[in-house]
């Protein structure tokens, strides 16, 4: 923190602590939170890097009760937004709304018509560019302009969102409210990019360690998938749950869930992007409600999932970047208790992340074909969604389709689409090499012979402050500390009752009524 607080500031912090206790039920700020809140309350622009699970939403939620006006939170993902809205509703906050592309137009107009009553407004960057939305927002007072997942603004970030590039302009249009940019992980280059792109001035940096000290780490080298499954079953029969098993593909999630259910009798389900939306939501709710011990999933699961008592995160296949890995294991033990992250690694697994990287971009043939069809008028750039779908029909992955869209949208009238071919290729080579670098970093982590924690901290230019008891396999880690008291058995769990009358009565709270 460095400097001393003046009276005014310590007064503000006292009020903030009061809100923290009254609204959220916590006695103390967690590390980093107080500093961010103090800067925000003083009206400064703040850049905060806070690891997943460190309670970054508190940093704008508490000020929301002390500042006058609306806290506007720009959030890139619908699921994330939904979860944040729900968390506020759960503490009894009624004046929280979201604006995104998935809403019924009537609902949208209702929100815009009652802006003045709103304390927290979550919004997608696309929505913020709509004229009607911007006009309505410019008529009310904004207390804080929060950019969540701020790394999306950077081309060097892993999740670049072109719509984020307009945020600086929009903020100035809305009278330059103080800005809080938050992200879980960003290296120095990305940080600079964010501050510049968002036009943050006299910015205060609050950089927290990416270290999740309560999550122990292990990498387990194996020869084959069979060996992996064997090891996984051994692990799951002993350690504390609930847990998540991340897999590289849909088939794997189904296969592993099947094996574990049959072998161990654990309440296990799978989750991946190929499922119907309703089924995905059911599984998600089952997991959150404690109806499942284990979830086997692809990386489609996780964003916006807030379950504090996940004890175990297993990687059956390793992700493409260190950043994704930290993001995924960061879902464990948000309640501060001890958690465990285990990664199973076989040499041949590398083709999965390599495949993902390739699928991120169109290949030359596809790119050339699309540009030609645009020139010939066979493909038209009208509605974004229709355009993306027609690209996917031609064999592009979703990310590759997005890449093409972002590049052709700036081609002006009279210009030849095919003329940007070389430029696109150059971009692809550049971005691809960034991703390959990240992958090789990930592999270095897997093969490292020194402390895992020290390694990942060094990726973010950090060093370890003190040695932990439960650190990582390289420092010596016994799984005894993670064993569950009594192994779950496969008895029928009461919530799985199939008797329709009983089930319906419980849903409608009728059984209680009769008593």
């Amino acid at each position: 923190m460095g400097r001393l607080m003046n009276d005014h500031e310590s007064d503000l912090i006292a009020q903030a602590r009061d809100i923290l206790k009254k609204k959220f039920g916590y006695d103390q700020f967690r590390s980093g939170q107080q500093q961010v809140i103090q800067e925000v309350l003083s009206g400064h622009d703040v850049f905060a890097m806070m690891p997943t699970g460190s309670g970054k939403s508190i940093c704008y939620e508490v000020p929301g009760y002390l500042l006058e006006g609306i806290v506007l939170i720009i959030s890139p993902l619908l699921s994330l937004m939904e979860d944040q809205v729900n968390q506020l509703r759960e503490i009894g906050e009624k004046n929280v709304r979201a604006l995104n592309g998935l809403m019924h137009p009537e609902e949208r107009s209702r929100v815009l018509a009652h802006l003045r009553d709103i304390r927290f407004l979550f919004i997608s960057p696309e929505m913020l560019r709509q004229h009607s939305v911007l006009t309505a927002l410019s008529r009310v007072k904004l207390s804080l302009f929060v950019v969540d997942e701020a790394h999306c603004v950077s081309q060097w970030g892993h999740d670049f969102r072109p719509d984020y590039l307009y945020l600086a302009e929009i903020r100035s249009h809305l009278g330059n409210p103080a800005c809080l940019a938050v992200t879980a992980t960003a290296d120095e280059r990305v940080r600079e990019d964010i501050v510049r792109s968002l036009d943050l001035r006299a910015v205060n940096y609050v950089l927290m360690s990416v270290d999740r000290r309560n999550i122990a780490l292990a990498v387990h080298k194996v020869k084959s998938s069979e060996e992996k499954i064997e090891e996984l079953c051994k692990l799951l029969s002993k350690v504390q749950l609930p847990g998540i098993v991340y897999c590289a593909g849909r088939d794997w999630t189904e296969k592993i869930a099947d094996i574990i259910r049959q072998k161990l009798g654990l309440r296990t389900a799978f989750y991946h992007g190929g499922m119907e939306a309703v089924d995905r939501r059911k599984i998600q709710n089952q997991f959150l409600d404690g109806q499942l011990d284990l979830l086997c999933c692809t990386n489609a699961f996780g964003m916006g999932i807030n379950k504090p008592d996940i004890r175990l995160v297993v990687h059956f296949h390793f992700p493409a970047t260190m950043n994704a890995y930290l993001q995924e294991i960061g879902r464990a033990s948000r309640d501060g208790k001890q958690g465990l992250a285990i990664l199973y690694y076989a040499e041949q697994d590398e083709h999965y992340p390599l495949g993902f990287i390739d699928a991120n971009f169109p290949d030359d043939t596809l790119l050339r074909q699309v540009l030609r069809e645009l020139d010939q008028g066979l493909l038209k750039l009208e509605k974004k969604e229709t355009f993306l779908t027609s690209l996917q029909d031609r064999g592009a992955s979703e990310t590759a389709a997005r890449f093409i869209f972002e590049n052709v949208r700036f081609v002006t009238r009279g210009m030849n689409y095919s003329s940007i071919f070389e430029e696109c290729r150059k971009k692809i080579t550049e971005r691809r090499s960034v991703q390959l670098n990240e992958l090789s970093m990930m592999k270095r982590y897997l093969n490292s012979t020194t402390c895992r924690r020290a390694f990942y901290l060094s990726v973010y230019n950090e060093s370890q402050s003190e040695k932990l008891d439960l650190c990582c396999d390289q420092c010596g880690l016994s799984l005894e500390a993670f064993e569950r008291a009594c192994p779950q058995t496969s008895d029928v769990h009461p919530e799985q009752t199939l008797d329709w009358h009983q089930r319906l009565a419980t849903i409608f709270r009728e059984s209680e009524r009769d008593i």
């Binding site: 309703v278 409600d289 799985q496 329709w500 089930r503 849903i507 709270r509």
Partner: protein, 361 residues
């Protein structure tokens, strides 16, 4: 025999190798193309249209492969995607009880276009009421489809009752219905419902828990859902609240076909309708075929003379096929594809109503 094999053998037998395996897949998924709708009538398998809407293409393909490796179905031509029953398949199939394949409710297809939306609304309504009853401040809704959310919202706002009263009425109506539904169907419908701290199960999960076949679970559930929709349509007084979630339509026509029918009734020609609605002529033709299938009272003589109709049907029976191309060829191009489809559609309706009747009326 497991249900999943039975349903495939049954459908392969009905389709008689006149459609590829995708035709069966689209039928089960309920693809809203005129081809699929028409096929369901042509081959007399309307109950199965849209009966397995959550079917995964890869799962379906695996099932077909399995039937092939068991030598129950085979392809008459090499490398073709058209299948017929093998003699072994026919033997196995002949021992099946057809009634077990089609639970009664599956036949109630008159609201088939509404069933997905109705089911989503019902699930969201139940989840919302449960949350209200348990004073749950926030929950992750089972669906975010804007139109579904909006109509459930409206339904709750418009009911001028306290929320616990509204919930009690919903509960009573559902119990009233489920009591009169076969127990296995009632179980399948209810197990999918989500409430407070009791998230609904997926069909796959129910199949695992009960040891039932996944396809059978889908069909039993669909039967239950269609029973409920028919009950609501026939006895609205018994379902004053659940009924608000269902817009009971008088005809089973898709919205777009209905619009076309309205214009045709006002005297517009096929061409004029296409122009006015900015649709292609073939889309409007699709609508007319759908209309012919679903409402036999509409006069089609403007598009198809009795004489030509008769010739088409003769050609079809001569060629022993329902495929358009050979029929057209046999008629030396005297009839358009549209006219052939229309004739076959009218014929399918006649035969559907009187399965023992002959081709001629």
């Amino acid at each position: 025999m497991e249900y999943r094999y039975a349903i495939i053998l049954y459908l392969v037998n009905q389709f008689r190798g006149e459609r590829t395996i995708s035709g069966i897949y689209h039928l089960l998924k309920g693809k809203k193309s005129s081809q699929s709708i028409q096929d369901s009538f042509l081959f007399h398998v309307e109950p199965f249209f849209h009966s397995c809407e959550d079917l995964d293409r890869r799962d379906f393909k695996a099932l077909i492969d399995e039937c092939m490796s068991r030598r129950w179905i085979s392809s008459p031509e090499q490398d073709s995607q058209r299948f017929v029953l093998s003699s072994e398949g026919e033997r196995v199939f002949s021992r099946l009880d057809g009634h077990l394949l089609t639970p009664e409710g599956l036949n109630f297809t008159e609201q088939v276009n509404e069933e997905s939306r109705f089911w989503l609304k019902l699930q969201l309504m139940v989840q919302t009421l449960s949350a209200l009853l348990y004073h749950q401040r926030a929950f992750l809704p089972i669906t975010r489809q804007p139109s579904v959310t909006e109509s459930v919202r409206r339904c709750i706002m418009e009911a001028s009752l306290g929320r616990s009263k509204l919930a009690a009425y919903f509960y009573r109506e559902l119990v009233y219905f489920l009591q009169r539904c076969p127990a296995s169907e009632a179980e399948l419908l209810t197990a999918q419902l989500t409430g407070y701290k009791m998230s609904g199960l997926t069909v796959k999960q129910i199949a695992e828990l009960t040891g039932k076949d996944e396809y059978e679970c889908r069909i039993l559930f669909k039967s239950a859902l269609r029973r409920l929709m028919r009950e609501i349509a026939e006895f609205p007084n018994y379902y004053p609240y659940t009924g608000r979630l269902l817009i009971v339509k008088k005809s089973a026509l898709s919205l777009s076909a209905e619009e076309t029918l309205k214009l045709i009734r006002s005297g517009l020609s096929l061409h004029e309708v296409a122009k006015k609605r900015r649709l292609s002529q073939s889309t409007v033709e699709d609508h007319l075929v759908e209309i012919a299938l679903k409402d036999r009272t509409i006069d089609m003589s403007n598009y198809l003379s009795d004489r030509l109709e008769k010739q088409i049907l003769e050609a079809a029976s001569e060629a022993k096929t329902k495929q358009l191309k050979p029929i057209k060829k046999l008629l030396l191009d005297r009839a358009s594809y549209f006219q052939i489809r229309l004739a076959l559609a009218k014929e399918a309706v006649r035969r559907g109503e009187d399965p023992n009747g002959t081709t001629d009326e």
